[in-house]
Protein backbone atom coordinates (compact mmCIF):
# COMPACT_ATOMS: atom_id res chain seq x y z
CA UNK A 1 0.00 0.00 0.00
CA UNK A 2 1.30 3.46 -0.82
CA UNK A 3 1.94 5.94 1.94
CA UNK A 4 -0.20 9.08 2.12
CA UNK A 5 1.65 12.23 1.13
CA UNK A 6 0.92 15.57 2.84
CA UNK A 7 1.28 18.61 0.60
CA UNK A 8 1.74 21.64 2.81
CA UNK A 9 0.85 25.26 2.05
CA UNK A 10 -0.97 24.50 -1.19
CA UNK A 11 -3.03 27.30 -2.73
CA UNK A 12 -6.79 26.98 -2.84
CA UNK A 13 -8.15 27.73 -6.31
CA UNK A 14 -11.74 28.59 -5.52
CA UNK A 15 -12.18 32.26 -4.68
CA UNK A 16 -10.17 35.47 -4.98
CA UNK A 17 -8.64 34.95 -1.50
CA UNK A 18 -6.24 32.31 -2.92
CA UNK A 19 -5.57 31.01 0.62
CA UNK A 20 -2.01 29.67 0.59
CA UNK A 21 -1.98 27.64 3.80
CA UNK A 22 -3.93 24.57 2.69
CA UNK A 23 -2.66 21.12 3.66
CA UNK A 24 -3.73 18.34 1.34
CA UNK A 25 -3.40 14.62 2.02
CA UNK A 26 -2.88 12.62 -1.17
CA UNK A 27 -2.99 8.84 -1.30
CA UNK A 28 -3.05 6.54 -4.33
CA UNK A 29 -3.20 9.52 -6.63
CA UNK A 30 -6.32 10.99 -5.04
CA UNK A 31 -6.96 13.83 -2.63
CA UNK A 32 -8.12 12.17 0.59
CA UNK A 33 -8.30 15.07 3.05
CA UNK A 34 -8.10 18.83 2.95
CA UNK A 35 -7.15 20.85 6.02
CA UNK A 36 -7.54 24.58 6.67
CA UNK A 37 -9.73 25.19 3.60
CA UNK A 38 -13.29 26.52 3.94
CA UNK A 39 -16.33 24.61 2.74
CA UNK A 40 -16.03 26.14 -0.74
CA UNK A 41 -12.35 25.29 -1.15
CA UNK A 42 -12.64 21.79 0.35
CA UNK A 43 -15.48 20.97 -2.00
CA UNK A 44 -13.39 21.99 -5.01
CA UNK A 45 -10.12 20.32 -3.97
CA UNK A 46 -11.76 17.06 -2.87
CA UNK A 47 -13.42 16.87 -6.28
CA UNK A 48 -16.59 15.27 -7.59
CA UNK A 49 -18.12 13.91 -10.81
CA UNK A 50 -16.21 14.76 -13.99
CA UNK A 51 -16.75 14.73 -17.72
CA UNK A 52 -14.69 11.66 -18.64
CA UNK A 53 -14.21 11.97 -22.40
CA UNK A 54 -14.65 14.49 -25.21
CA UNK A 55 -18.03 14.62 -26.92
CA UNK A 56 -19.36 16.06 -30.17
CA UNK A 57 -22.98 16.48 -31.10
CA UNK A 58 -24.21 14.16 -33.85
CA UNK A 59 -27.86 13.96 -34.88
CA UNK A 60 -28.82 16.07 -31.89
CA UNK A 61 -26.99 13.94 -29.31
CA UNK A 62 -23.62 14.34 -27.64
CA UNK A 63 -21.56 11.24 -28.47
CA UNK A 64 -18.08 10.20 -27.37
CA UNK A 65 -15.23 11.41 -29.59
CA UNK A 66 -11.44 11.51 -29.58
CA UNK A 67 -9.63 14.66 -28.44
CA UNK A 68 -8.39 15.23 -32.02
CA UNK A 69 -11.93 14.93 -33.37
CA UNK A 70 -13.09 17.47 -30.77
CA UNK A 71 -10.23 19.86 -31.63
CA UNK A 72 -10.99 19.57 -35.36
CA UNK A 73 -14.71 20.19 -34.88
CA UNK A 74 -13.95 23.18 -32.60
CA UNK A 75 -11.56 24.65 -35.17
CA UNK A 76 -14.15 24.16 -37.89
CA UNK A 77 -16.79 25.99 -35.83
CA UNK A 78 -14.44 28.89 -35.07
CA UNK A 79 -13.22 29.20 -38.68
CA UNK A 80 -16.74 29.15 -40.11
CA UNK A 81 -17.96 31.85 -37.71
CA UNK A 82 -17.87 35.50 -38.67
CA UNK A 83 -17.66 36.66 -35.06
CA UNK A 84 -17.01 34.02 -32.41
CA UNK A 85 -17.04 34.75 -28.67
CA UNK A 86 -14.40 33.20 -26.40
CA UNK A 87 -15.83 33.54 -22.89
CA UNK A 88 -14.95 32.52 -19.33
CA UNK A 89 -11.31 32.26 -18.16
CA UNK A 90 -11.89 33.05 -14.47
CA UNK A 91 -11.21 29.54 -13.19
CA UNK A 92 -8.09 28.71 -15.12
CA UNK A 93 -4.49 29.88 -15.20
CA UNK A 94 -2.99 32.96 -16.83
CA UNK A 95 -0.98 30.59 -19.05
CA UNK A 96 -4.25 29.22 -20.46
CA UNK A 97 -5.57 32.79 -20.84
CA UNK A 98 -2.50 33.67 -22.96
CA UNK A 99 -3.28 30.80 -25.32
CA UNK A 100 -6.91 31.90 -25.45
CA UNK A 101 -5.90 35.42 -26.48
CA UNK A 102 -3.69 33.92 -29.19
CA UNK A 103 -6.63 31.82 -30.45
CA UNK A 104 -8.90 34.90 -30.39
CA UNK A 105 -6.37 36.79 -32.51
CA UNK A 106 -5.98 33.88 -34.93
CA UNK A 107 -9.69 33.36 -35.60
CA UNK A 108 -10.78 36.99 -35.12
CA UNK A 109 -12.93 36.67 -31.99
CA UNK A 110 -14.24 38.70 -29.09
CA UNK A 111 -12.70 37.55 -25.82
CA UNK A 112 -14.50 38.28 -22.56
CA UNK A 113 -14.26 37.06 -18.99
CA UNK A 114 -16.74 36.39 -16.20
CA UNK A 115 -15.85 39.83 -14.82
CA UNK A 116 -18.39 41.07 -17.32
CA UNK A 117 -21.23 39.67 -15.12
CA UNK A 118 -19.41 40.29 -11.86
CA UNK A 119 -16.93 43.09 -11.11
CA UNK A 120 -17.02 44.48 -14.68
CA UNK A 121 -18.49 47.76 -13.40
CA UNK A 122 -15.64 47.90 -10.85
CA UNK A 123 -13.11 47.54 -13.67
CA UNK A 124 -14.77 50.45 -15.50
CA UNK A 125 -15.00 52.59 -12.35
CA UNK A 126 -11.35 51.91 -11.53
CA UNK A 127 -10.34 52.89 -15.08
CA UNK A 128 -12.06 56.24 -14.52
CA UNK A 129 -10.72 57.02 -11.04
CA UNK A 130 -7.80 54.71 -10.22
CA UNK A 131 -7.66 52.37 -7.26
CA UNK A 132 -6.20 53.55 -3.93
CA UNK A 133 -5.52 49.92 -3.01
CA UNK A 134 -3.25 47.84 -0.83
CA UNK A 135 -2.25 44.22 -0.44
CA UNK A 136 -4.33 42.06 1.85
CA UNK A 137 -1.19 41.73 3.98
CA UNK A 138 -1.21 45.47 4.60
CA UNK A 139 -4.86 45.30 5.65
CA UNK A 140 -4.12 42.40 8.00
CA UNK A 141 -1.15 44.13 9.58
CA UNK A 142 -2.48 47.67 9.80
CA UNK A 143 -6.25 48.12 9.38
CA UNK A 144 -8.19 49.19 12.47
CA UNK A 145 -11.40 50.10 10.62
CA UNK A 146 -12.90 47.84 7.96
CA UNK A 147 -16.05 48.44 5.91
CA UNK A 148 -17.75 45.67 3.93
CA UNK A 149 -20.08 47.34 1.44
CA UNK A 150 -22.45 45.14 -0.58
CA UNK A 151 -20.45 42.02 0.11
CA UNK A 152 -20.91 39.01 2.37
CA UNK A 153 -17.51 37.36 2.93
CA UNK A 154 -18.87 34.97 5.56
CA UNK A 155 -20.55 33.12 2.68
CA UNK A 156 -18.61 34.19 -0.43
CA UNK A 157 -15.02 34.41 0.93
CA UNK A 158 -15.27 32.46 4.18
CA UNK A 159 -11.61 32.76 5.29
CA UNK A 160 -11.19 36.41 4.34
CA UNK A 161 -11.97 37.67 7.84
CA UNK A 162 -9.61 35.23 9.58
CA UNK A 163 -6.68 35.56 7.18
CA UNK A 164 -6.83 39.15 5.97
CA UNK A 165 -9.47 41.33 7.60
CA UNK A 166 -11.82 41.47 10.63
CA UNK A 167 -10.37 38.67 12.75
CA UNK A 168 -6.80 38.54 11.46
CA UNK A 169 -3.95 39.23 13.85
CA UNK A 170 -1.10 41.25 12.34
CA UNK A 171 2.07 43.07 13.28
CA UNK A 172 0.33 46.31 14.23
CA UNK A 173 -3.04 44.71 14.96
CA UNK A 174 -2.20 42.31 17.80
CA UNK A 175 -5.70 42.42 19.27
CA UNK A 176 -7.29 41.10 16.08
CA UNK A 177 -11.08 41.52 16.06
CA UNK A 178 -11.08 43.24 19.47
CA UNK A 179 -8.90 46.05 18.16
CA UNK A 180 -10.96 46.75 15.06
CA UNK A 181 -14.17 48.48 14.16
CA UNK A 182 -16.17 46.55 11.56
CA UNK A 183 -18.95 48.18 9.55
CA UNK A 184 -21.29 46.43 7.11
CA UNK A 185 -23.41 48.34 4.60
CA UNK A 186 -25.99 46.20 2.81
CA UNK A 187 -29.64 45.96 1.83
CA UNK A 188 -30.12 42.90 4.05
CA UNK A 189 -28.74 41.71 7.35
CA UNK A 190 -26.26 39.13 6.13
CA UNK A 191 -24.21 36.76 8.29
CA UNK A 192 -21.33 39.23 7.85
CA UNK A 193 -23.58 42.03 9.16
CA UNK A 194 -24.39 40.01 12.30
CA UNK A 195 -20.71 40.02 13.24
CA UNK A 196 -20.25 43.76 12.66
CA UNK A 197 -20.00 46.60 15.19
CA UNK A 198 -22.25 48.72 13.01
CA UNK A 199 -24.74 47.63 10.37
CA UNK A 200 -26.23 50.17 8.00
CA UNK A 201 -29.15 49.04 5.92
CA UNK A 202 -29.56 50.93 2.64
CA UNK A 203 -32.53 50.80 0.29
CA UNK A 204 -31.95 48.62 -2.82
CA UNK A 205 -30.32 50.86 -5.43
CA UNK A 206 -29.63 53.56 -2.81
CA UNK A 207 -25.86 53.10 -2.61
CA UNK A 208 -24.91 56.03 -4.84
CA UNK A 209 -26.92 58.48 -2.74
CA UNK A 210 -25.54 57.10 0.52
CA UNK A 211 -21.94 57.30 -0.72
CA UNK A 212 -22.57 60.88 -1.88
CA UNK A 213 -24.01 61.77 1.52
CA UNK A 214 -20.93 60.32 3.23
CA UNK A 215 -18.70 62.39 0.94
CA UNK A 216 -20.60 65.52 1.97
CA UNK A 217 -20.24 64.65 5.66
CA UNK A 218 -16.51 63.94 5.25
CA UNK A 219 -16.16 67.35 3.58
CA UNK A 220 -18.04 69.07 6.42
CA UNK A 221 -21.16 69.84 4.37
CA UNK A 222 -23.55 67.64 6.31
CA UNK A 223 -25.84 70.60 7.09
CA UNK A 224 -27.07 70.43 3.48
CA UNK A 225 -28.28 66.83 3.83
CA UNK A 226 -31.91 65.78 4.40
CA UNK A 227 -32.74 63.73 7.51
CA UNK A 228 -32.69 60.47 5.55
CA UNK A 229 -30.70 59.38 2.50
CA UNK A 230 -31.19 56.06 0.67
CA UNK A 231 -33.09 54.67 3.65
CA UNK A 232 -30.38 55.64 6.17
CA UNK A 233 -30.84 58.24 8.90
CA UNK A 234 -28.51 61.24 8.69
CA UNK A 235 -27.45 60.65 12.31
CA UNK A 236 -26.24 57.13 11.41
CA UNK A 237 -24.34 58.46 8.40
CA UNK A 238 -22.73 61.19 10.49
CA UNK A 239 -21.60 58.61 13.05
CA UNK A 240 -20.16 56.47 10.23
CA UNK A 241 -18.37 59.43 8.62
CA UNK A 242 -16.74 60.27 11.97
CA UNK A 243 -15.71 56.64 12.40
CA UNK A 244 -14.11 56.54 8.95
CA UNK A 245 -12.27 59.85 9.43
CA UNK A 246 -10.93 58.66 12.78
CA UNK A 247 -9.43 55.47 11.33
CA UNK A 248 -5.69 54.99 11.71
CA UNK A 249 -5.77 52.73 8.65
CA UNK A 250 -9.13 52.02 7.03
CA UNK A 251 -10.09 49.50 4.37
CA UNK A 252 -13.28 49.42 2.32
CA UNK A 253 -14.10 46.10 0.66
CA UNK A 254 -16.93 46.16 -1.85
CA UNK A 255 -18.86 43.45 -3.64
CA UNK A 256 -21.55 42.74 -6.16
CA UNK A 257 -24.12 44.46 -3.97
CA UNK A 258 -23.05 47.68 -5.61
CA UNK A 259 -21.85 46.47 -9.05
CA UNK A 260 -25.10 44.59 -9.78
CA UNK A 261 -27.43 47.35 -8.54
CA UNK A 262 -28.70 50.62 -9.93
CA UNK A 263 -25.77 52.93 -10.62
CA UNK A 264 -23.36 50.05 -11.36
CA UNK A 265 -19.95 51.51 -12.32
CA UNK A 266 -20.94 54.96 -11.09
CA UNK A 267 -21.38 53.44 -7.60
CA UNK A 268 -17.76 52.28 -7.77
CA UNK A 269 -16.59 55.61 -9.17
CA UNK A 270 -18.28 57.35 -6.23
CA UNK A 271 -16.85 54.91 -3.65
CA UNK A 272 -13.36 55.49 -5.08
CA UNK A 273 -13.87 59.24 -4.67
CA UNK A 274 -15.04 58.75 -1.08
CA UNK A 275 -11.87 56.81 -0.29
CA UNK A 276 -9.67 59.37 -2.04
CA UNK A 277 -11.28 62.10 0.11
CA UNK A 278 -10.94 60.06 3.31
CA UNK A 279 -7.21 60.07 2.68
CA UNK A 280 -7.20 63.76 3.57
CA UNK A 281 -8.09 62.69 7.12
CA UNK A 282 -6.59 59.22 7.51
CA UNK A 283 -5.00 56.42 5.52
CA UNK A 284 -7.76 54.58 3.64
CA UNK A 285 -7.71 51.88 0.94
CA UNK A 286 -10.39 50.20 -1.17
CA UNK A 287 -10.48 46.74 -2.75
CA UNK A 288 -13.01 44.74 -4.76
CA UNK A 289 -13.94 41.31 -3.37
CA UNK A 290 -13.18 39.30 -6.51
CA UNK A 291 -15.13 36.05 -6.78
CA UNK A 292 -13.53 33.40 -8.99
CA UNK A 293 -9.94 32.69 -8.06
CA UNK A 294 -8.33 34.02 -11.22
CA UNK A 295 -10.83 36.52 -12.55
CA UNK A 296 -8.15 39.07 -11.68
CA UNK A 297 -5.61 37.10 -13.72
CA UNK A 298 -7.54 37.08 -17.00
CA UNK A 299 -7.96 40.85 -16.53
CA UNK A 300 -4.22 41.28 -16.04
CA UNK A 301 -3.31 38.97 -18.95
CA UNK A 302 -5.75 40.66 -21.32
CA UNK A 303 -4.56 44.10 -20.21
CA UNK A 304 -0.87 43.42 -20.84
CA UNK A 305 -1.65 41.66 -24.15
CA UNK A 306 -4.26 43.95 -25.67
CA UNK A 307 -4.38 47.05 -23.49
CA UNK A 308 -7.89 46.27 -22.18
CA UNK A 309 -8.96 44.16 -19.17
CA UNK A 310 -12.12 42.46 -20.50
CA UNK A 311 -14.64 42.49 -23.40
CA UNK A 312 -11.90 42.81 -26.03
CA UNK A 313 -13.01 42.64 -29.65
CA UNK A 314 -10.20 41.22 -31.81
CA UNK A 315 -12.29 40.81 -34.96
CA UNK A 316 -11.01 44.07 -36.47
CA UNK A 317 -7.31 43.27 -36.59
CA UNK A 318 -6.63 45.47 -33.59
CA UNK A 319 -8.07 45.42 -30.07
CA UNK A 320 -11.32 47.32 -29.54
CA UNK A 321 -13.02 47.71 -26.14
CA UNK A 322 -16.44 49.13 -25.47
CA UNK A 323 -18.38 47.53 -22.61
CA UNK A 324 -22.07 47.49 -23.44
CA UNK A 325 -21.16 46.73 -27.04
CA UNK A 326 -18.30 44.20 -26.87
CA UNK A 327 -19.35 42.47 -23.63
CA UNK A 328 -20.64 38.90 -23.74
CA UNK A 329 -24.23 39.51 -22.56
CA UNK A 330 -24.72 42.44 -24.96
CA UNK A 331 -23.29 40.50 -27.90
CA UNK A 332 -25.68 37.62 -27.21
CA UNK A 333 -28.63 39.93 -26.51
CA UNK A 334 -28.07 41.55 -29.94
CA UNK A 335 -27.35 38.11 -31.47
CA UNK A 336 -24.14 39.64 -32.72
CA UNK A 337 -21.97 36.51 -32.33
CA UNK A 338 -22.37 33.32 -34.32
CA UNK A 339 -20.31 30.82 -32.28
CA UNK A 340 -19.00 30.60 -28.73
CA UNK A 341 -16.21 28.86 -26.87
CA UNK A 342 -16.97 28.73 -23.15
CA UNK A 343 -14.02 27.82 -20.95
CA UNK A 344 -13.74 27.65 -17.14
CA UNK A 345 -17.17 29.23 -16.70
CA UNK A 346 -20.83 28.27 -16.97
CA UNK A 347 -22.52 30.92 -19.06
CA UNK A 348 -25.81 29.00 -19.32
CA UNK A 349 -26.27 29.21 -15.53
CA UNK A 350 -24.94 32.70 -14.95
CA UNK A 351 -26.34 34.77 -17.83
CA UNK A 352 -29.87 36.18 -18.04
CA UNK A 353 -32.28 33.72 -19.60
CA UNK A 354 -32.81 35.58 -22.88
CA UNK A 355 -29.08 35.69 -23.56
CA UNK A 356 -28.82 31.96 -22.78
CA UNK A 357 -31.51 31.36 -25.40
CA UNK A 358 -29.30 33.20 -27.90
CA UNK A 359 -26.34 31.04 -26.84
CA UNK A 360 -28.41 27.91 -27.43
CA UNK A 361 -29.03 28.97 -31.03
CA UNK A 362 -25.34 29.10 -32.02
CA UNK A 363 -22.61 26.43 -32.09
CA UNK A 364 -20.99 26.18 -28.64
CA UNK A 365 -17.67 24.61 -27.66
CA UNK A 366 -17.24 23.88 -23.94
CA UNK A 367 -13.92 23.28 -22.16
CA UNK A 368 -14.60 22.34 -18.54
CA UNK A 369 -13.87 19.59 -16.02
CA UNK A 370 -17.54 19.31 -15.04
CA UNK A 371 -20.92 18.81 -16.66
CA UNK A 372 -23.16 21.84 -16.15
CA UNK A 373 -26.02 23.55 -18.03
CA UNK A 374 -23.59 24.89 -20.66
CA UNK A 375 -22.84 21.22 -21.52
CA UNK A 376 -26.51 20.75 -22.39
CA UNK A 377 -26.28 23.50 -25.02
CA UNK A 378 -22.86 22.54 -26.41
CA UNK A 379 -21.90 20.99 -29.74
CA UNK A 380 -18.39 20.08 -28.62
CA UNK A 381 -17.47 19.23 -25.03
CA UNK A 382 -13.81 18.86 -24.07
CA UNK A 383 -12.95 17.75 -20.53
CA UNK A 384 -9.82 19.21 -18.97
CA UNK A 385 -7.57 18.74 -15.97
CA UNK A 386 -8.41 21.14 -13.11
CA UNK A 387 -6.09 24.14 -12.94
CA UNK A 388 -4.79 24.61 -9.40
CA UNK A 389 -5.47 20.97 -8.44
CA UNK A 390 -4.14 18.89 -11.34
CA UNK A 391 -2.20 21.56 -13.25
CA UNK A 392 0.15 24.25 -11.99
CA UNK A 393 -0.06 27.83 -13.20
CA UNK A 394 -0.27 31.50 -12.28
CA UNK A 395 -3.25 33.21 -10.65
CA UNK A 396 -3.89 36.71 -9.30
CA UNK A 397 -5.34 37.20 -5.83
CA UNK A 398 -8.10 39.81 -5.37
CA UNK A 399 -5.51 42.42 -4.37
CA UNK A 400 -3.48 41.91 -7.57
CA UNK A 401 -0.76 39.72 -6.05
CA UNK A 402 0.30 36.92 -8.43
CA UNK A 403 0.78 33.48 -6.92
CA UNK A 404 1.90 30.16 -8.34
CA UNK A 405 -0.75 27.43 -8.15
CA UNK A 406 0.63 23.98 -7.45
CA UNK A 407 -0.22 20.64 -8.95
CA UNK A 408 -1.56 18.39 -6.18
CA UNK A 409 -2.46 15.21 -8.09
CA UNK A 410 -1.98 13.83 -11.62
CA UNK A 411 -4.68 13.76 -14.26
CA UNK A 412 -4.98 11.76 -17.46
CA UNK A 413 -6.81 14.73 -19.04
CA UNK A 414 -5.05 17.56 -20.90
CA UNK A 415 -4.79 21.03 -19.36
CA UNK A 416 -6.80 24.00 -20.67
CA UNK A 417 -3.57 25.25 -22.20
CA UNK A 418 -2.95 21.97 -24.06
CA UNK A 419 -6.54 21.86 -25.31
CA UNK A 420 -6.33 25.43 -26.64
CA UNK A 421 -3.06 24.58 -28.39
CA UNK A 422 -4.75 21.50 -29.87
CA UNK A 423 -7.56 23.66 -31.28
CA UNK A 424 -5.06 26.27 -32.49
CA UNK A 425 -3.04 23.54 -34.27
CA UNK A 426 -6.19 22.35 -35.99
CA UNK A 427 -7.07 25.94 -36.98
CA UNK A 428 -3.65 26.26 -38.65
CA UNK A 429 -3.99 22.92 -40.46
CA UNK A 430 -7.53 23.56 -41.68
CA UNK A 431 -6.59 27.06 -42.82
CA UNK A 432 -3.63 25.62 -44.74
CA UNK A 433 -5.88 22.99 -46.35
CA UNK A 434 -8.36 25.69 -47.35
CA UNK A 435 -5.51 27.74 -48.81
CA UNK A 436 -4.24 24.69 -50.74
CA UNK A 437 -7.71 24.11 -52.13
CA UNK A 438 -8.00 27.78 -53.05
CA UNK A 439 -11.01 28.31 -50.76
Amino acid sequence: MSEAKIIKDAICSFCGCLCDDINVEVDEGRVQRVRHACRLGSSKILGHGRIEHPMVRKDGRLVEASFQEAYDRSAQILLRANKPLLYGWASTSCEAAKKGILLAEEVGAVIDSTATVCHGPSVIGIEEKGLPGATLGQVKNRADTIVFWGCNPVEAHPRHSLRYSSNSVGRFTPQGREGRKIVVVDVRETRTARNADKFIRVNPGGDYEVISALRMLVKGKGDLLPQEVGGVLKADLAELADMLKAARFGALFFGLGITHSRGRYKNIDNALSLVAELNQHSKFVILPMRGHYNVGGIGQTLAWSSGYPMSVDLTRGKPYFNPGETSACDLLARRDVDAALIIAADAASNFPRSTVEALADIPVIQIDPYENPTTLLSDVVIPCAIAGVEVEGTAYRMDGLSLRLRKLVDSCLPSDEEILMGILGSVHRQRQMMANQGV
Partner: protein, 124 residues
Protein backbone atom coordinates in the same frame (compact mmCIF):
# COMPACT_ATOMS: atom_id res chain seq x y z
CA UNK B 1 -47.03 40.71 -3.21
CA UNK B 2 -44.66 43.01 -5.09
CA UNK B 3 -41.04 42.67 -4.05
CA UNK B 4 -37.48 43.59 -4.96
CA UNK B 5 -35.42 40.54 -5.90
CA UNK B 6 -31.69 40.33 -5.27
CA UNK B 7 -29.52 37.34 -6.13
CA UNK B 8 -26.12 36.37 -4.81
CA UNK B 9 -23.78 33.76 -3.42
CA UNK B 10 -24.60 31.58 -0.43
CA UNK B 11 -22.23 29.14 1.26
CA UNK B 12 -24.28 26.14 0.10
CA UNK B 13 -24.54 27.51 -3.47
CA UNK B 14 -20.78 28.07 -3.60
CA UNK B 15 -19.98 24.61 -2.26
CA UNK B 16 -22.14 22.99 -4.98
CA UNK B 17 -21.57 25.41 -7.85
CA UNK B 18 -19.08 23.22 -9.71
CA UNK B 19 -21.34 20.18 -9.38
CA UNK B 20 -24.51 21.66 -10.81
CA UNK B 21 -26.10 18.48 -12.15
CA UNK B 22 -26.05 16.98 -8.64
CA UNK B 23 -29.37 17.15 -6.71
CA UNK B 24 -27.52 18.94 -3.88
CA UNK B 25 -27.10 21.98 -6.14
CA UNK B 26 -30.85 22.00 -6.74
CA UNK B 27 -31.48 21.87 -2.98
CA UNK B 28 -29.01 24.71 -2.36
CA UNK B 29 -30.09 27.03 -5.16
CA UNK B 30 -33.73 26.53 -6.22
CA UNK B 31 -34.83 28.63 -3.24
CA UNK B 32 -36.54 31.92 -2.54
CA UNK B 33 -35.70 33.57 0.79
CA UNK B 34 -38.46 35.81 2.16
CA UNK B 35 -38.73 37.90 5.29
CA UNK B 36 -40.51 36.13 8.15
CA UNK B 37 -43.42 38.56 7.88
CA UNK B 38 -43.84 38.05 4.11
CA UNK B 39 -43.53 34.29 4.60
CA UNK B 40 -46.45 34.42 7.02
CA UNK B 41 -48.57 36.89 5.08
CA UNK B 42 -48.38 34.66 1.99
CA UNK B 43 -49.65 31.80 4.20
CA UNK B 44 -46.57 29.67 3.54
CA UNK B 45 -45.25 26.77 5.55
CA UNK B 46 -41.90 25.00 5.35
CA UNK B 47 -41.44 23.14 2.05
CA UNK B 48 -44.10 25.09 0.13
CA UNK B 49 -43.42 26.93 -3.11
CA UNK B 50 -43.73 30.47 -4.38
CA UNK B 51 -44.07 31.71 -7.95
CA UNK B 52 -41.97 34.72 -8.93
CA UNK B 53 -43.01 36.59 -12.03
CA UNK B 54 -41.99 39.68 -13.99
CA UNK B 55 -41.72 40.87 -17.59
CA UNK B 56 -38.70 38.60 -18.18
CA UNK B 57 -40.24 35.31 -17.07
CA UNK B 58 -41.57 33.27 -14.20
CA UNK B 59 -40.08 30.65 -11.91
CA UNK B 60 -41.40 28.49 -9.08
CA UNK B 61 -39.08 28.07 -6.10
CA UNK B 62 -39.14 26.53 -2.64
CA UNK B 63 -39.86 29.24 -0.06
CA UNK B 64 -37.58 29.80 2.92
CA UNK B 65 -38.03 32.29 5.76
CA UNK B 66 -34.98 34.50 6.38
CA UNK B 67 -34.79 36.77 9.42
CA UNK B 68 -32.17 38.98 7.76
CA UNK B 69 -34.49 40.25 5.04
CA UNK B 70 -36.73 43.30 5.28
CA UNK B 71 -40.33 43.12 4.07
CA UNK B 72 -40.94 43.17 0.30
CA UNK B 73 -37.46 41.94 -0.50
CA UNK B 74 -36.65 38.40 -1.68
CA UNK B 75 -33.19 36.87 -1.96
CA UNK B 76 -32.39 34.10 -4.47
CA UNK B 77 -29.10 32.16 -4.53
CA UNK B 78 -27.38 33.08 -7.81
CA UNK B 79 -27.90 30.63 -10.66
CA UNK B 80 -30.16 29.61 -13.52
CA UNK B 81 -33.41 29.86 -11.55
CA UNK B 82 -32.79 33.47 -10.45
CA UNK B 83 -31.59 34.44 -13.93
CA UNK B 84 -35.00 33.67 -15.46
CA UNK B 85 -36.10 36.94 -13.83
CA UNK B 86 -33.11 39.00 -15.00
CA UNK B 87 -33.38 41.14 -18.13
CA UNK B 88 -30.77 41.44 -20.85
CA UNK B 89 -30.24 45.19 -20.51
CA UNK B 90 -26.77 46.07 -19.21
CA UNK B 91 -27.10 49.83 -19.07
CA UNK B 92 -24.19 50.16 -21.47
CA UNK B 93 -21.64 48.62 -19.10
CA UNK B 94 -21.90 44.92 -19.91
CA UNK B 95 -23.38 43.77 -16.60
CA UNK B 96 -27.07 42.89 -16.32
CA UNK B 97 -29.21 43.93 -13.33
CA UNK B 98 -28.87 40.84 -11.13
CA UNK B 99 -30.08 42.78 -8.11
CA UNK B 100 -32.92 45.21 -7.55
CA UNK B 101 -35.29 43.39 -9.90
CA UNK B 102 -39.01 43.99 -9.40
CA UNK B 103 -41.05 40.77 -9.12
CA UNK B 104 -44.53 39.66 -8.14
CA UNK B 105 -44.54 36.86 -5.56
CA UNK B 106 -47.45 34.50 -4.91
CA UNK B 107 -47.87 31.16 -3.16
CA UNK B 108 -48.15 28.34 -5.70
CA UNK B 109 -48.69 24.60 -6.11
CA UNK B 110 -46.51 24.60 -9.23
CA UNK B 111 -43.52 22.28 -8.94
CA UNK B 112 -39.94 23.59 -8.98
CA UNK B 113 -38.26 22.58 -12.24
CA UNK B 114 -34.99 20.69 -11.86
CA UNK B 115 -31.89 21.80 -13.70
CA UNK B 116 -32.38 19.62 -16.79
CA UNK B 117 -36.04 20.65 -17.07
CA UNK B 118 -34.96 24.31 -17.00
CA UNK B 119 -32.96 23.81 -20.21
CA UNK B 120 -35.25 21.27 -21.89
CA UNK B 121 -35.87 21.95 -25.58
CA UNK B 122 -33.55 24.93 -25.55
CA UNK B 123 -31.55 25.32 -28.76
CA UNK B 124 -30.22 21.93 -29.81
Amino acid sequence: MLATMISGRTLAQGAECEDKMNPDFFKAVALCHLSEKDFQSLGLSEGENVLLRNEHGQVALRAKADSGLPENMVFLPMGPWANILVGKDTGGCGTPHFKGVQVEVTATDMPVLDIRELFLNMGV
